[in-house]
Symmetry: C3
Subunit: 335 residues, 3 copies
């Protein structure tokens, strides 16, 4: 049964879901959670301004058909801190839901939506989050779908930049990534909401830039943001911010399916960031990385003041709380 | 150590646990949760009439040695919405409890009952829920035991009928099922509490009716309810309600152990309900199905107003909340 | 990045973490939870003295690389009853954290600490809890590390003795155990805080006593506590308390890795406690056992008034609640 009348803007499926106002709303909510945490003196006393549970707890369902701990646990922890709950509804071993007994995704989602208030989806396919968004009247979050988008990680990076270096408009921003990476696409697309002073993409030479990424870069350019492409990480070190990811995802496709150790030796040198390169460039660039890192980011960077990725992990909590809280209250995305 | 003095009526093990008053109490509680949900305007404001957590949260343990997502997640979600918590205490992979290191069920239950307030059991054996009920002073729910009973699913069907077609006494009710199915037995046994105007069983011809089912039908007859047996789903379409399940469970026994795809082609045609059959019969019968469905219920039915099974899934939440809440408050079953 | 400035005493890693005052504080908190439970009349009415959730719920992370249900579920249930939450952050099957993709433990812990407020660690290695304690600013509980320590189980035994036989100082205490067992070491080391009237170790003859255990016994002796060593369980039955465990752990090393049934026939007779031995000795000794039991403790003991191990399991809840609550409030250990 196809159900036609959904509230518009209920889902967060890609960077295009989000308007400039939405972005500022998420930042404001995340700031509030941060302030609240800083006020917590651990004494266990009552905080009159922030009563936690005034209604029945909501249930956040996580439906991940692709390996992830960071994102799944991150959304689960955010739900719990909001005073809500989470249920993992993808459980191949013990499940009779879904494909293991041939149940259709339509029936599956009908059950999941009866048990929960919001669905967080990660999939190795591009189509699943969109399909679930259409099938269910519940709000749906795309937490990474194949080679398409990963909008919540992009929001985390933007909030981390905002907190650690101020408004994006005044900054020069670089991104080192495989141009097929879903986070990279969401990040560049989301920059349209607040184009930086200039933007540089660092990617493998001799590999064509992925068409959706090319389109997103073109859009940035049309908004008046100077866009450059470089092929050595050292050429990004005069920027204010560098978001760095692995360059050749295809080498890791097996890792997403099994538990084989990843061969870190294979990363080619021009795309590996080391403390020496940062110090040689006398750079005060802010380094972001979604973790887990591979060979793109050497541990020698960890003790430099440039290292923003550990604080970024902590800020991810408040951003995910902001996203969940907004969507559980039924506030639509206006993008 | 056998412990003799348990409160009488602490467990919900079969249809016989429940009295007429108990059934009405469950309906009243479920109605209240429904009303509360409808009042929730999503604004996040305080609801004075229904404060949620006034005491330490209770812990509902799920102990399932048989595959299930729907029932397990359903009870977990119901516990969470009540402001309580759940723990899955059957975890073969990482567990040292239970048989993996040779621990006896007696010792196992002693630990589970130290950590929780109520135990929900599903088992491929008939005996386990009864055994746990005897071993523990905690209330125990049988969520399906071998070929015996599945009383909570029967309560869900009865409440769905009550909500969508009114009091059972005034209705003609049909059930299409393998006569060995545990849900079917619990459902027919529970109809004794409020016998319908007439009852029809649709089952495979040439297969003897399972003795416990025969007994339950005889009891209904003795209460003055006309009982018929038919062998084609079309012969049920003049009833007010049809609860439909697969006919030949033995074909699915392997599915309960592994994750092989089920061959949907094998269901024989007289027991498959399609939109065409309903429309040809000009029937306004209410269709119920516990999901996941197999070939007994064609997706062509989904868009008809007769399709009650998706709303039934949603109503299962309030019924499970009612069952858990009642038992966690220590109210005994009087059946 | 090594981070130097941690609050002193944030972790509970071994028996040496705990001072005499700490022990009394844990007992007092556990007593309070017990009293509160006994006051609970199940009526569901508001309890003014013990409001549960006044702040955002805390998240207790469990990181177990070794099989355990009892301890993991025990800490999870204790967190839930405190009105807090738990997240299992070790999940090899679906995880990209940790070693499966080559992520370092340092990066792993950075993420775990961003999502949680306290980390409970069990490991087959001795080093992991210490390493995590150094890496994280969060409080860390060692829930058993290789052949080293298991301090929370020792606290549970001491509280069980305190509740069932009174202050340890006035009692004669026996321990039957492999001298390499981590619980045994933590238990004997913790007895230094309140040395019993006399102490007896029952262990295999002809096997040298493990050096750390020998040291702990020597410390007890130096505190004025008479210490004896015997090789037959019957020689302990004139004591007030016997904590009994399996004698030859090496036979069980395979069990900790797989799910093979343990051969109970191999336990040699002098170390197996039976009802007959207790009755023959006319003993009113209190029997403790952490469960799961192996052949050291015959089920014939279960119906004797001496059997304290089932009540011990129940008391473990209040002890774990006391430990978690204290550490989540940031109270340091003074040991």
């Amino acid at each position: 049964m196809q159900r036609p009348n959904y509230p518009s803007g209920k889902d967060l499926l890609g960077a295009d879901s989000i308007s400039r106002d939405d972005l500022e709303d998420i930042f404001a909510r995340a700031e509030q959670y941060l302030a609240e945490e800083n006020e917590d003196d651990g004494s266990g006393d009552y905080v009159p301004a922030a009563p936690v549970m005034r209604r029945r707890p909501k249930v956040v369902a996580t439906l991940f058909d692709q390996r992830s701990t960071r994102t799944r646990l991150g959304f689960q922890a955010a739900a719990l801190r909001l005073g809500h709950q989470s249920l993992d509804v993808f459980d191949t071993e013990r499940s009779r839901m879904g494909t293991s007994t041939g149940e259709s995704i339509e029936d599956h989602i009908r059950t999941v939506e009866a048990y929960s208030d919001l669905i967080v989806v990660r999939s190795h396919t591009e189509s699943l989050p969109y399909q679930i968004g259409r099938l269910s009247y519940l709000p749906v979050i795309n937490a990474g779908n194949g080679a398409d988008e990963h909008p919540t990680q992009a929001l985390i990076d933007l909030f981390a930049i905002h907190k650690m270096r101020g408004p994006v408009q005044g900054l020069s921003i670089a991104l080192s990534s495989d141009t097929r990476a879903r986070f990279a696409l969401s990040f560049v697309k989301m920059l349209r909401l607040s184009p930086p002073r200039r933007f540089t993409l660092c990617c493998l030479p001799g590999v064509p830039i992925n068409p959706p990424m090319r389109e997103a870069l073109e859009l940035l350019r049309n908004l008046g943001c100077p866009v450059a492409v470089v092929h050595d990480i050292r050429d990004t070190l005069d920027h204010d911010v560098l978001s760095i990811q692995m360059q050749d995802m295809s080498r890791f496709s097996h890792a997403s399916l099994g538990s084989e150790a990843v061969d870190k030796e294979l990363e080619t040198e021009p795309f590996t960031l080391t403390a020496k390169k940062i110090i040689d460039a006398n750079s005060d660039i802010l380094i972001l990385n979604p973790l887990p890192r591979f060979s793109e980011l050497d541990v020698s960077c960890d003790t430099l003041p440039n290292a923003g990725y550990f604080r970024q992990v902590k800020l991810s909590m408040q951003v995910r709380m902001a996203i969940l809280n907004r969507m559980l209250m039924g506030i639509p995305w206006a993008g």
